[in-house]
Amino acid sequence: MLVLTSVATYYGSVQALKGISLHVNRGEIVALIGANGAGKTTTLKTISGILSPRRGTVTFEGRTVGGRSPEAIVRAGISQVPEGRQVFGPLSVKDNLLLGAYHLSWREKRARLRENLERVYELFPVLLEREQQPGGTLSGGEQQMLAIGRALMAEPRLMLLDEPSLGLAPRMSKAIFGAIPAFRDRGLTVLLVEQNARAALQIADRAYVLETGRVVMEGVAQELLSQKEVQRAYLGRGYQQVWEE
């Protein structure tokens, strides 16, 4: 469904991605793991259109999306939940969610808005409880749920999740990770970027390990869980003992 071939992305003259190739098949949960600065978020931004690749191709369902505008990419069916949530603080939970469907046509909205909202509330009941509250008053975990809900309102076929567990208490991030496999049942495909490699590998089908802008390992998530090198790539060299939760 999504194919990246030898993608090179730069920040000015600094090369952040050095020829990244990966693919995500329909219905899969694929994880991108690696230490800070490895290029995970840059990869997601290259896919969602916030950044353009200087070399290489990004195709989605057979069509090139690399280099196109973020709006066009959202319309094509890709939705991103950015790092750090970025909910609209002053707006209510409900309005945040409705904004997620902004790009859909009026007719599409009328038909499915109610239904999509209900499905988000079903997934994250706390959002219904706090429907009228300003987004900024929610806890970190609740904001993460709101950000995910907002992305779901765009009716994506591929969801890009950037560090959903960042800054969350372990129990919260467990709840978030627990919700992700359910997306598959809704016909959604997920590309998940995570620093918490263990949690990501436990729910993913396959994974790619990034290290300083390159893919250094790929395979079935279960097989990667036991790899010493994965631990090293995730934590950086030398941190042997911090692996355990």
Binding site: S6, K18, G19, S21, R214, V215, V216, E218, Q227
Partner: protein, 440 residues
């Protein structure tokens, strides 16, 4: 026969190529990072691994030879620390430094799956009793196929190589249905049965997967008819992994399906190193795609074959390699003509009374090179009508002179008088080679 891993073995080629590119880049990154030999190579060319942007870009990298692997003895070619290596194999040779193949847990897991794929393609099921007649030890064949057979769930009898009589007793008592070994060993079993006057029905054998040395179609026909079984070919590269690289499908027996999601193959002209298009015969060059402990880039196998990427009627989309019948070391140049075992075999085939074992000697007599073909013949030919014997000899001599364009002497020898194991077929006495079993 069931396809062991349908997702991998029937993948559309465009998806396969994307997967190969991803894995090639991982391999290049890891080799550059973790194997000093490859880092030096990249640096010498001023190349960074990210410049491998397509499968064709692989050609920018130089070939790796067996001597290169030997030069890293014992552990310099490994990309992981030794504590992550859980198995070490080494095809041990008496006259030269061995090459060392290390395997991590994941490498072993992949190896097991690939061996299961080729065994399943050849016809092994979990209802079989399979006898492994390769030598268990540092060599890769026995363990590799043993693991694969267990993965399938067959009943594995690790007999190891040994006296043919013992192999036969076990086959009879244990009701073995499948045999794994070399083609020459299978022929010895057939000969032993004949000598003892044992009927084929005393065995339950129905299939053999043979390999480890080049064997031609007429050798396959002999094994199949003498043992009353089906025989399939498989291909291994002992310096890198062992068996499981490629195997024939029982349905078609038309080339060996290469596990291309784990091995990227190229065919090169052995002289110039130029990459040849599909269908052309040349030397097989392999790049590992998933090996963790021992990533190898563009390894010269010295085996001659060709690749056919067309899908097979069995359903697999994995490209097929032609059966390997000669190695680059087997080729000898006489009077400007290149002679190969395949050529010799095609001249010998179809001539009545000629058995499949032969040896060719090339001598330099003064300024002239001479070729002598020694070939085993049936006892009926040797003890029969002398005129018939001479006629056959003449016929063969003419055939050879036509095929090679060189004066050829034909010498008939008794059946079973030529050495069987691992011998060179073409012995170049001009170079001081002898007919003693050569090392692999």
């Amino acid at each position: 026969m069931p396809i062991w891993n349908p997702r991998a073995e029937t993948m559309p080629r465009v998806d396969l190529e994307q997967l190969q590119l991803e894995r090639l880049q991982v391999t290049a990154n890891r080799a550059w990072e973790g194997v000093p030999f490859y880092r030096r190579r990249f640096e010498a060319l001023g190349l960074m691994p990210e410049q491998i942007r397509s499968l064709e870009d692989l050609r920018q990298l130089p070939l790796t030879t067996k001597e290169d692997l030997r030069s890293g003895y014992p552990y310099d070619m490994l990309a992981v620390p030794l504590r992550e290596v859980v198995r070490i194999h080494a095809p041990w040779e008496t006259s030269s430094t061995p090459t060392v193949a290390g395997y991590t847990k994941n490498d072993l897991r992949h190896w097991r799956e690939l061996a299961a794929r080729v065994l399943s393609a050849g016809g092994l099921t979990k209802d079989d009793v399979i006898q492994i007649s390769f030598t268990y030890g540092l060599l890769t064949d026995a363990f590799g196929l043993h693991q694969g057979a267990e993965e399938i769930g067959a009943s594995v009898v690790p007999v190891t190589a040994g006296a043919v009589e013992q192999q036969i007793s076990i086959m009879q008592d244990f009701r073995t249905t499948a045999l794994v070994g070399t083609p020459s060993y299978a022929l010895r079993i057939a000969e032993a049965l004949e000598e003892k006057g044992l009927p084929r029905s005393s065995l339950h054998l129905r299939w053999a997967m043979l390999g480890g040395e080049p064997w031609a179609e007429n050798a396959r026909r002999r094994v199949e008819s003498q043992l009353g079984i089906s025989a399939t070919d498989n291909y291994r590269v002992s310096e890198i992994m062992g068996p499981g690289v490629a195997g024939e499908c029982k349905e078609q027996k038309n080339g060996l399906h290469v596990n291309e999601d784990h091995f990227l193959c190229e065919i090169i002209d052995p002289g110039s190193g130029e990459v040849l298009p599909p269908g052309q015969m040349g030397e097989l060059v392999i790049t590992t795609l998933t090996k963790e402990a021992l990533p190898v880039i563009r390894y010269r196998t010295r085996d001659l074959t060709s690749l056919d990427p067309e899908p097979c009627a069995c359903g697999r989309t994995l490209a097929r390699m032609a059966r390997v019948s000669s190695r680059t070391d087997d080729l000898v140049i006489v009077g400007g003509v290149t002679i190969s075992p395949t050529q010799i075999e095609s001249v010998l085939s179809g001539v009545e009374g000629i058995e499949s074992h032969y040896q060719v000697f090339v001598d330099g007599v003064g300024a002239v090179d001479r070729v002598q073909v020694q070939v085993e013949v049936s006892s009926s030919l040797l003890t029969g009508d002398v005129r018939h014997l001479l006629q056959t000899q003449n016929q063969l001599r003419q055939r050879f002179e036509e095929a090679l364009g060189l004066p050829t002497e034909i010498k008939f020898v008794e059946a079973r008088s030529l050495s069987r194991e691992g011998m060179r077929r073409i012995i170049d006495r001009r170079k001081g080679e002898s007919s003693h079993p050569a090392q692999q």
